[in-house]
Amino acid sequence: MLLPIRPAHLPVKVVIRDAATAGDLSDLLDRAGLCDLLADLAADPAIVILVDLAGFSAADPGVPARAVEALIDAIGARRPAACSPRFLVAASADGSAAWAGNRDVHARAEIAGYRYVTDTGIDYDIVDLADDVIADGFAAGSALAGTPAARIWADADVRIVIAGLRCDAGRGFVGALETMLGALPATDPNREYRQRRDVGEVATALLDAMPPQLAIIDARASGGPWLVSRDIVLADYAAALKLGIDPAVSPLFATLSSARPVPAAHAFDGDPTPAPERAPEAISEPAPTPWAAKLARARAANADFAALTDPWLQMLDREAFPPLHPIDARMNAALAGLDGGAVHRALDLLLALAADGLTFWQTLYDKDALERRVVALGIDPASVPVAAFDAMVASLDSLAPVARCAPLHADALRWRKIGGAIVFAYARELAIPFEHFVARVDIGHAIAFMADYLGGIVLPHAEGPLPPSGAQPPDGGGRQLERNLYLPQPNYLVLFGGKPIDVTKIEIVRRTADFHQLYWQTLFSSNDTARADDGIISFRRTGTGTAVEIIGQQDFTLPPFWQLFDVSLLPALETALVTHAYQSFFAGTLANFEALAEGRDIAIGRDPALPRPPPAEALEALAGRVADVARPWLATLRGERGDRRAGRDADADGYVHGRGV
């Protein structure tokens, strides 16, 4: 039986205690409402306690094993008489399992001192949540749709998260919500849940599908606070208050709290005031400066670079968790122990610049190395009224003639500015038969086929099919909503901090025997990269092929540098830049359509299903190839004779003669 996160009769409360005056765990649990949680349990419930095993030293394993066992004892003491719970202490491998030894769940649990039985004799098991998964454990439209869910976590009668608390340059702070992500079983969690997806959307999806009923943050071992709440968001919120930091320094918390905010009516049972001696500096690691946080996030923003350098920078007990690759071992020994001085800061800066440089290179020249992105729609499709779709059609039908009469700036491209937006029309005919073309290029997914599409989602609107329109009845189509991410346009804006263009839209699809059409209009942009991205794309049968027309208006937010540099003051330059940007984009888009008609895959980014060698191995292989290339040149420089056998001339009969034996 799945229990509600917060029964209506309970106050939304977080119990807060300082380490020095923590008192008794049972008292905290009682105050947080544990008895209510246990009251309605089945006879033999599965109580799954998700623990933080993220520590990188035997001395600091995350949450102490004894604290977890004490929790089990406390629950055991309060269980109803007829209830015989089965306790499972759960975790999943974090990204470090790919590059360091003993990072699997059972090894970490052993190093952390878990004994499989508590002081009062209650048995418990340690489980790796990746061992048993539900292949497609999340709802369509969720950021986690199509990914596996841990069966034990999904089926648990009671889900509890017990976490430590520490500051982290890239993640702001790590408390219960970050630990909760350990319930997700992907083998490469950093890439899957932090690079391909927004970590806040991931946490929201997990919280929606499989919320914990109790969150405990136990930082007493490092002199920090002890917090318990039935609401995990409130627990992290209170933890941030105790640290004296803005909870939104955590990107996870910042995104999640917009969808799942801290309960409006909440209460503190205890003092949320940060005591000076328990300020962030006292919580296991120094609080990162904003500058350090910015550099850490820049380094982490590039998936490949983060995967390469994480093993080099992680402070760890190399005896307990030995790096698996010699390169990682040497780099970790050299870099991880830097003490925060000038060299450390210079290294952070250098790595951030290198990561930015790699992202710039990949965006412009190696798009297939980028991560494909997965997003949630971010809005309930049913919340958009049908009238909004009708208004969109009327508005865009009015825009179309304006776009078609804009000045012709390049082959097939017309554009003009209206109110700061670019109003454009691009029309070309492809010598591809209409039936063949529309069978391969689905108008309903035309946005996803455009150039530089990084990822997105399309969901149907709740209303039924469209009513007939025009002389011919539609043979398909309807209303839909779409969220899509594109690389910054033009791509070189990434050099100036340009973010992927992220737009959520309403759309109408129409299909008749000779004409397919898609209308789209912006609802909002989650990252404020677009004020408008509206348009119509159509495929029309012609005598010899298919006419493609794209009409629209776009008003994208420029990075700060380009906002300062007002390019409209130089009309000739503005015209050249806009024309080049749109010409490149539409040429790439039409090439994508042609490629789809050929049966090719046009998606940019790396196929997540393909295996990837560990970054240190890839670096070693690259170094080997560099050495192979350099060797003959070095030999030439040294004046050594190369192997000339290949160049020996044949004799009159065409035979090349060897030296003989």
Binding site: D368, N592, A595, E598, I604, V629, A646, G654, Y655
Partner: protein
């Protein structure tokens, strides 16, 4: 019954296709490790044998055949010259010996037009001038000259009717590997400077070359070479045509052999670092400025009628653009000419 060695290669696969289209019983001889994607859809009888492998396998492959077409070769500019030579000479010698041992009467060996050399001034070369001197030639050319010389001697010794087919730059689709000829198309598409160079070559459709092998098997005169080409074109015209067909435009600039050599060296280094084959090599760059122009009059007397070079390039571009040899990123830069699309959909229809 016809046996075709190298049947998984560009020329060999087209020989097999031509034979099947002409209702000639055919046995496709491929190495056990060969990818046979080029034979998809025609499904010939496949026999495994390696020209450098056990003789018995070759004899078994040829047993019962009256004609063998030997197309198996390593076609590469740059790389291991000794391996090229071994496949060309030792491999051909093994084929001849095996064919003779099982009673094959006729043998068509695929050579190359380059065995007749080149012209510095744009002169058109035919078979009458005889084989070129190998000295100073690229390893591939040396290997092919050696192959032809050895084959003529060995065929006479074994009493086989030997005909030598000498295709020019054969482009076209339905190939497993890219090959240097098709790679020249891609090299131009990949070159952001859209450079061309002096000199020229003769472009022919691989499909026409395949069909011509069948023609030579039937009608070729023993001991003769037959040049199999189509039109002689300057490189700048070839590149302009590729530019139109692929939509990349150009050429914009003509570069000399020395600069081309530097660019080819950079391409070789880049390709090695990426772990992929180079689209152009220094050895190919050393051939620039020359005219590899040939006259196929001798083959024409047998009825050889190749399609125009432009059509050969249309078909090659049509295949290449949709193939795995063009990356997704590269494909996104192409805008195929209507002629390519029409060929494609006409062919599909």
């Amino acid at each position: 019954m016809l046996a075709v060695t190298g049947a998984a290669g560009l020329i060999g696969a087209h020989v097999v296709r031509a034979a099947i289209a002409d209702d000639v019983p055919v046995r496709a001889v491929v190495r056990p490790t060969s990818c046979c994607a080029a034979l998809a859809g025609v499904d010939p009888v496949l026999v495994h044998a390696d020209v450098l492998g056990p003789r018995a396998a070759l004899e078994a492959a040829f047993a019962g055949c009256d004609t063998v077409v030997h197309t198996a070769a390593t076609f590469a500019y740059g790389g291991d010259g000794e391996a090229l030579h071994r496949v060309a000479t030792d491999g051909t010698a093994a084929v001849i010996a095996a064919a003779a041992a099982v009673g094959v009467r006729r043998l068509v060996v695929t050579s190359s037009s380059v065995v007749f050399g080149y012209s510095e001034t744009g002169g058109i070369i035919d078979e009458a001038g005889g084989l070129a001197e190998p000295a100073g030639q690229p390893a591939y050319v040396k290997a092919k000259i050696a192959q032809d010389r050895a084959a003529l001697v060995l065929a006479e010794r074994h009493g086989l009717d030997l005909v030598l087919a000498c295709p020019t730059m054969s482009v076209g689709g339905i190939a497993t590997t890219l090959g240097p000829s098709n790679a020249l198309i891609l090299a131009y598409v990949a070159d952001q400077t859209r450079s061309t160079y002096a000199g020229g070559c003769n472009i022919v459709s691989a499909a026409d070359v395949g069909a011509a092998h069948l023609l030579l098997a039937r009608q070729g005169r023993a001991g003769q070479h037959y040049l199999l080409g189509s039109e002689n074109l300057e490189w700048r015209d070839i590149h302009a045509l590729i530019g139109v067909l692929t939509g990349v435009g150009g050429p914009n600039i003509e570069i000399g052999a020395r600069f081309a050599g530097i660019a080819a060296a950079a391409e070789e280094i880049g390709a090695r670092l990426r772990g992929v084959p180079a689209l152009s090599t220094r050895e190919q760059a050393s051939m620039l400025g020359r005219h590899y122009w040939y006259d196929h009059g001798r083959a024409a007397t047998l009825g050889y009628r190749p399609r125009p070079a432009a059509q050969a390039l249309i078909e090659a571009v049509s295949w290449l653009a949709a193939s795995r040899h063009v990356s997704r990123a590269q494909r996104a830069t192409l805008r195929l000419a209507d002629a390519v699309q029409r060929f494609r959909h006409g062919a599909a229809a």
